[in-house]
Amino acid sequence: MSDESNERIAALEKELAKLRSQVDTGAAGEEPTEVQANSAWLAVRLARHPKRPHALDYIERVFTGFQEIHGDRAFGDDPAIVGGFARLDGRAVAVIGQQKGRDTKQNVFRNFGMPKPEGYRKALRIMRMAVKFNRPIITLLDTPGAYPGIDAEERGQAEAIAISLREMARFGVPIIAVVIGEGGSGGALALGVGNQVFMLKNSVYSVISPESCAAIIYRDASKAEQAAAALKLDAPALLHFGLIDRIIEEPGEGAHTDYDQAAAYMKATLISSLAGLSSLGPQQLIDQRYEKFRRMGNFFEEAATV
């Protein structure tokens, strides 16, 4: 590896150590009252917790015989999205997850969980295969957002996400999406068009990161806490607005305290949800999914002009 990248890694490690200490002291009660007052910001911090289980942590605990497949058959393989086929309680399913890294080296490899167009196209390829072989699709959402870089733009980041949204609406197999950590805007949503959409208790799902939102509205990225509260991005808020179907329980103070228990809660929910969807035929699944999103956001009035 070049000196330059070693230097960069060293700098990132330092930054990470600083952030970690903030996370730890913060949870221990640096500003306990404020944290409690703002449950949305607490959820943001738990969703980004350095020890929070990632997609592969759930995949190995919830599913058996996971066989990962790679590549979009056009440009390359994106390690920020993992996917393949596995068994859920004996039933073969396709499973696709957005994957973050644990340490710096992994994070550089996984691009901090920020997918590029080839990642979304790989996911779509796996989903089309699932339709062909009549397998349900389960997606795990956890990304700060789709990667905002030159190469991603050149290869059509927006197009890749848009096509994924439209095609997921077309598939005649059950689709279940679970937000396991950060549901970062369109980058997460691209895999989120499910017959059922769940959020883990301490996950978040948002149109914009609280930092970017704060930078826009308060011209100060450090006011992310306020922005998080304003955006109403925590699981109870999304359930309240009818944007998700259910909240999945997390153990103790969060999924990071007990991976096995967190996975067990998810597994139970997936199995019962899939059982419910299994009674629907392909066209019913398409229609149910369509109607569900069709109703979302009926927050307007049609009064005549004053």
Binding site: G149, A169, G186, V207, G297, F299, E302
Partner: protein
């Protein structure tokens, strides 16, 4: 006796006189593209395209519809849909106040006009985003109006055109805005299955959740010359990679070269281009 006195006190102004004086302010201004001095009337006659360098000035939604529909006439749909501020969102001002200020300043309730009419004799539905209305951002109202327009296209077997100009999803409606991306994309899936053509016209600027949903889903994606089109905005990318972006990055011509636009069409040619496409696909 004073040197100057008014011999008569009741001089009547000729009412036609006021019209003889022409206000010159604002008649001339500089082109943003070539810095040449332009006469506003010449620009208006050329559909707000610089006659010297071809720079495309932004035009509002109503002006766009006038250019596309026959005789500049159309029927507007769902014009009274208005957001109810579900998040009770407050930034530098309350979202409710921001909305009502916009609704007073512009002749619309949200950032989109949904219209039906004929284009070279063919019945079509055209939705145009209004950039001046909170940056053309997409919230629940835009999501609903576009979805209804798509459903109307399916029922009436009429092709669809959407002209985009937007910063993306509307932050002030949070995840509700986000879900409009799915709602519209899913409706476009039905339009696709109904085998009706959809032409997406991307104008300056089209970014974020609008590009990452309906604006990139046209059977044909057409860009206006020089329009900024992308997923992430250029400032976000510069902050991420900590470098200046190359000249022309994320412009229409760049997207054409990278395979994401079918054509870059000049504004005066747009109506004919759309009309011919529909002819080739449907007749």
């Amino acid at each position: 006796m004073a040197w100057f006195t008014r011999p008569t006190t009741n001089i009547k102004r000729d009412p036609a006189e006021a019209e003889r004086h022409v206000k010159t302010e604002g008649l001339w201004f500089k082109c943003d593209g070539c810095r040449q001095i332009l006469w506003r009337k010449a620009l208006e006659e050329n559909q707000q395209v610089c006659p010297h360098c071809g720079f495309h000035f932004k035009i509002d939604a109503a002006a766009r519809l006038k250019l596309l529909f026959d005789d500049g006439a159309w029927e507007e749909f769902d014009r009274d849909l208005a957001s109810t501020d579900p998040l009770d969102f407050v930034d530098s001002k309350r979202y409710k106040d921001r909305l009502s200020a916009m609704q007073r300043a512009l002749p619309m309730k949200d950032a989109l006009i949904s219209a039906g009419g004929t284009l070279n004799g063919r019945p079509v539905n055209i939705c145009v985003l209004e950039l001046k209305f909170i940056g053309g951002s997409m919230g629940s109202v835009m999501g609903e109006k576009i979805t209804r327009a798509i459903e109307r296209s399916i029922t009436r077997r009429a092709p669809l055109v959407i002209v985009s100009a937007s910063g993306g999803a509307r932050m002030q409606e949070g995840a509700i805005s986000l879900m409009q991306m799915v709602k519209i994309s899913a409706a476009l899936m039905r339009l696709d299955e109904a085998r009706l053509p959809y032409i997406s016209v991307l104008t300056d600027p089209t970014t974020g959740g609008v590009t990452a949903s309906f604006a990139m889903l046209g059977d044909l994606n057409i860009g206006e010359p020089g329009a900024l089109i992308g997923f992430a905005g250029p400032r976000v990318i510069e902050q991420t990679i900590r470098q200046k972006l190359p000249e022309g990055f994320q412009r229409s011509e760049f997207l054409l070269n990278h395979g994401f636009l079918d054509a870059v069409v000049k504004r005066p040619d747009l109506k004919q281009y759309i009309s011919q496409s529909f002819d080739l696909l449907l007749n």
